[in-house]
């Protein structure tokens, strides 16, 4: 299954099929018209930008494995031999362990909660037809465009009056609410693709509405659930604004606020700073490499509109 089967792509670039099957590079097809120069220039450009894109992140990892003294003497040196003491320092002395555990807890709990309530709501949006539900769906969707973070003051007072400031559950609930617009949008469009006969068949078999949802629909929308879960993980893990304001107690800091504190305290300890930044980034890189498909489909979800 290579692109050599498509003879029609003589000089036009080969289109479609982003299946990662390795195929005959199109460059060869193009060379007939423009001798290697164009193809060479374009692949050079792709490689150069790949370097620009990734070099700072590689540098971050590389410098986290060096000592501060080494960096001061040789700003462009390599981590040979790699030195892991800065990680130990960041993890234990600079409380990254606490921040990391808090971040994992907040992210997992809020994504689970947000996905669960969004699944229920999206199913209702896809399976009812009344102007009330349409209006409600529109209201949720508007959350995709609204700068919701500007309402932080009333939110702070609300959580304060509930005694929830500095409580990780305040972040979990807020993030879960913030995830509803995107999650219902993606999930509802999936539920709408499922034929109504499914519901009717389930009802004839005596299933109630919840059983129909749980036993029949849920297994069928698994790909959409994966997209929503993976894609919501990223902004929640990265968010800095809400914990900066809602978390006042250092033992409840999540990674991003922890990092700001840490940058104040360890200003000159470069090795530890790089190690901290790397620690905050690793889970995202792992997630991205494991679930590229879900991330890409999440990023391009708005296109189907």
């Amino acid at each position: 299954m290579t692109a050599t089967i498509t003879p029609e792509s003589r000089d036009a670039p080969t289109h479609g099929g982003d299946s990662g099957t390795p195929s005959n590079p199109d460059r060869q097809g193009r060379t007939r018209r423009r001798p290697t120069l164009g193809g060479f220039a374009s692949s050079t450009f792709l490689w150069i930008y790949a370097a620009i894109s990734i070099a700072p992140l590689l540098l971050m990892v590389s410098n986290s494995l060096r000592t501060t003294q080494d960096m001061a003497q040789q700003p462009l040196g390599l981590p040979l031999p790699p030195n892991f003491t800065s990680y130990q320092k960041a993890w234990v002395t600079a409380s990254f362990e606490t921040y990391f555990v808090n971040s994992i807890f907040v992210t997992v709990a809020s994504v689970v909660l947000s996905t669960a309530v969004s699944l229920l709501a999206a199913y209702a949006f896809a399976r009812t037809r009344s102007k009330w539900f349409t209006a409600l769906e529109g209201l949720f969707l508007s959350g995709l465009m609204l700068p919701v973070y500007l309402a932080i003051l009333p939110l702070f007072f609300l959580l304060d009056s509930l005694g929830m400031v500095s409580n990780l559950w305040s972040l979990i609930l807020v993030y879960a609410a913030l995830g509803i617009p995107f999650s219902t949008f993606v999930l509802a469009s999936f539920f709408r693709q499922l034929p109504l006969e499914l519901d009717e068949a389930a009802r004839l078999d005596g299933a109630g509405p919840f059983q129909t949802f749980w036993r029949v629909h849920l297994p069928l929308v698994r790909p959409a659930i994966a997209t929503v879960v993976v894609f919501r993980f990223v902004p929640v893990w990265n968010d800095f604004f809400y914990p900066l304001i809602l978390i006042r107690d250092q033992s409840s800091y999540t990674l991003p606020v922890g990092i700001t504190r840490f940058f104040g305290e360890y200003q000159t300890d470069w090795a530890t700073l790089f190690a901290g930044l790397t620690l905050a980034t690793i889970p995202l890189v792992v997630l991205f490499l494991l679930a590229t498909k879900q991330i890409v489909s999440g990023l391009t979800a708005g296109m189907s509109k």
Partner: protein
């Protein structure tokens, strides 16, 4: 028998898509509705009202109409800080737009024609976009550090030592660092989105143009580009929202004060500072006025861009 079944069928037929009674639907929607109402809708509506009152600490005083808004434009420091920060937000938007629609579009187009290493390139370009903007900001602040920073070290190594400078200490260069770092981080999104849009253009269209004798540039200009308008619209709206909401990158590069000397200040930082760091007794009233203006501006322009793009789409097809 038929007399009973007929109305049943009729009741269902006109409303295809209905499998839940309204009551069951309400039960399904309720958890999401409660979360949305308590943590999004209620704070948003309340925040708007805050700006119309005079505040003493956290105690709400008298209704003062538009006084908080008037103060923003007539009293220092706000009357200087707001335009200053606003210009920086606009620079972020235009900088990112230019970068995404030249380099980003170029990368997406080239990538679309490439088979070899396509996934690899996509991954490389998208990674910075997924990393926390705060981490990105701090990472660049270390890289641009005047003495030991790798950027200046590279410049010295390639004989451009005279260009080496305290990038973030100089008000002239600091804002451009914020703009470039932001644009650099965001590029993954247009690359993926334009890539998806290019993949959706039927091959035949391009072939037909090529049979008609159109050269590569003409095909791009007259065939590909118009079909990318919806994607460009999406990128524009999201870039606008992102640029106006910019917070973590400026915070990491210039602190909450927008150092040096307000050179990296943006509206969200100004709002944050006014609300939580100013110590002014009417901090809530003033910051809520800033928030409300910013809110209306973001939402209004986002809707405007969407409408313009819809119209452009309609003209094209």
């Amino acid at each position: 028998m038929s007399a009973i079944t007929v109305p049943k069928v009729r009741r269902r037929r006109p409303s295809t898509g209905v499998a839940l009674s309204r009551r069951a639907g309400l039960v399904f929607v309720l958890p999401a509705l409660i979360l949305f109402a308590v943590f999004i809708a209620y704070p948003l509506l309340t925040a708007l009202s805050y700006s119309f009152f005079d505040w003493t600490g956290i105690l709400r005083g008298d209704f003062t109409g538009l006084e908080n808004y008037v103060r923003l434009f007539t009293t220092l420091p706000y009357s200087e800080d707001i335009p200053n920060a606003f210009v920086h937000n606009l620079l972020l938007f235009f900088g990112a737009m230019v970068f995404q629609n030249t380099v980003g579009l170029g990368l997406a187009t080239l990538l679309h024609r490439t088979r070899r290493f396509k996934r690899f390139f996509q991954t490389m370009y998208t990674l910075p976009y997924l990393v926390s903007p705060l981490v990105i900001g701090y990472l660049w602040s270390l890289m641009l550090s005047p003495l030991f920073g790798p950027v200046n070290a590279v410049l010295r190594a390639i004989g451009l030592g005279e260009l080496a400078q305290p990038w973030l200490g100089n008000p002239q260069t600091a804002i451009w660092v914020v703009v470039i770092v932001t644009a650099w981080q965001w590029i993954g999104f247009p690359v993926l989105l334009y890539g998806a849009a290019l993949g959706g253009i039927p091959e035949e269209v391009d072939e037909a143009a090529s049979l008609d004798g159109a050269n590569a540039w003409q095909r791009f200009r007259s065939v590909t580009l118009p079909m990318l308008v919806p994607a460009i619209g999406t990128v524009s709206v999201l870039t606008f929202i992102g640029a106006m909401e910019a917070f973590p990158i400026p915070y990491a590069l210039g602190g909450s004060q927008g150092n040096p000397a307000g050179a990296t200040d943006v509206l969200s930082l100004l709002f944050y500072r006014t609300a939580f760091e100013s110590g002014s007794s009417n901090a809530i009233g003033t910051s809520s006025a800033i928030a409300t203006l910013l809110f209306l501006f973001i939402f209004g322009i986002a809707i405007l861009i969407t409408a313009i793009m819809r119209r452009a789409e309609r003209k094209l097809f």
